[in-house]
């Protein structure tokens, strides 16, 4: 199946526009005034430290084919939900995930177009969803939004993963596939710089 070039351009246009648009970030949870579900959606949408690696993981799964993509659509949001729910439990211990790690790991895997077995993709996206979802659950609980906030962010993740994985899985044009890998190298490069920042701060 050949994906029409127009779809790719439109997706690229959206991505570029969103990337260039200035945004506030995630240090404080966003209050949309529409309730915890939408607050969870907004919180995720304004957290590049979350949505960049997750989009990268969806890209990775999509590049590996439709079986991997379907698995990621199911497992990644589910793992985020479980992690977020556990993180939101009273007395849940803290979990500090280095910011650079998901960027570097996911970016390198996408850039190198590594041939992973389906199970490995499942484990990878599951682990990523959990380690990113858990601290988000902690933060959301601190702001009293509870599980509903986590459900909102899970819904946003489901949409993002579905769109990105489907777009990547439907790629048959060689240069578009390379463009996805270039995006992966950008994610990895950002991760490497973040590692540098982290080491310098010590």
């Amino acid at each position: 199946m050949t994906r029409p070039a127009g779809s790719v351009w439109r997706a690229g246009t959206i991505g570029l526009a969103l990337a260039l648009a200035p945004r506030a970030a995630s240090a404080h949870l966003v209050e949309t005034g529409l309730g915890p579900i939408y607050d969870g959606v907004a919180h995720f949408a304004l957290s590049p430290e979350d949505y960049v690696p997750i989009a990268g993981a969806a890209l990775l799964a999509g590049l590996r084919g439709k079986d991997h993509a379907r698995l990621a659509v199911l497992i990644l949001p589910l793992a985020w939900l479980v992690g977020g729910a556990l993180g939101g439990l009273p007395g849940a211990p803290g979990l500090a995930v280095p910011l650079w790690l998901p960027f570097l790991a996911v970016g390198i895997l996408v850039a190198t177009d590594l041939q992973l077995p389906t199970a490995a993709t499942g484990v990878l996206v599951g682990a990523l969803g959990f380690i990113l979802g858990y601290p988000n659950g902690l933060a959301i609980a601190q702001y009293g939004q509870g599980l509903r906030g986590v459900i909102g962010s899970t819904a946003a993740i489901f949409v993002l993963v579905t769109l990105v994985a489907a777009l990547a899985a439907g790629t048959t044009v060689a240069w578009v596939r390379i463009a996805w890998r270039v995006l992966g190298s950008w994610i990895a490069a950002s991760g490497l710089l973040l590692l540098g920042w982290a080491l310098r701060a010590r």
Partner: protein, 197 residues
């Protein structure tokens, strides 16, 4: 019809994108991306070298045309990493200026060395550029979004080079590319003279 659809998508994307909320400053995340994005675009020495990489890749064709844009950002970021953790790289400014001279010359002469030689040459220059530019985080900006902006801008400069390089398929385009390579090389000589000044 298609044009309308594209305009609608673009309008929706901007409408959906959140803008700055000044009531709750988020410690430089918003300015971080733009600062990082604009950083490579404000140094002509960086611009000409990045565009030259794309031009040369387009001249060399596959597999260089796709290998260079995939590997360059990571090698450049490695240079930035070295700068951040305090590993000195000697003669960085000279290396940056030389990148303009040599990459411009390679485009001008349509040089076709073995892929590994081209890759190694570009890797050395990528480390110089990354080391010099990647570690300059202005106070009050976010390292995360600054890094993303910096990498994206550099990648887009490559894309510009590759896009311009597509004229290589026509004979007058090949001539224009070689002329552009010459210009880049002259620019590199200027920056080299500045580095020694």
């Amino acid at each position: 019809m298609k044009g309308n659809a594209n305009r609608l998508v673009l309008a929706l994307a901007f409408a959906a994108a959140p803008t700055l909320v000044h009531a709750h400053p988020q410690i430089g995340e918003a300015t971080g991306f733009l600062t990082g994005f604009l950083h490579p675009l404000t140094g002509l020495d960086h611009i000409i070298a990045m565009v030259a990489v794309g031009l040369w890749g387009a001249q060399l064709g596959a597999p260089a045309i796709w290998m260079l844009p995939v590997t360059f950002p990571m090698v450049m970021a490695f240079g930035g990493f070295l700068g951040l953790v305090g590993v000195p790289v000697p003669f960085v400014e000279i290396g940056i200026a030389l990148s303009g001279v040599l990459l411009g010359a390679a485009v001008m002469t349509e040089s076709r060395p073995p892929l590994i030689v081209a890759g190694a040459l570009i890797a050395v220059f990528a480390i110089c550029h990354g080391h010099a530019h990647g570690a300059e985080l202005p106070p009050g900006t976010s390292g995360l979004t600054y890094s993303i902006g910096f990498v994206v801008a550099t990648g887009l400069l490559h894309a510009c080079g590759i896009g311009i390089g597509t004229v290589h398929r026509w004979s007058y385009g090949r001539l224009a590319l070689r002329a552009l390579g010459g210009l880049i090389s002259v620019g590199g000589v200027f920056f080299l003279s500045q580095a020694f000044a």
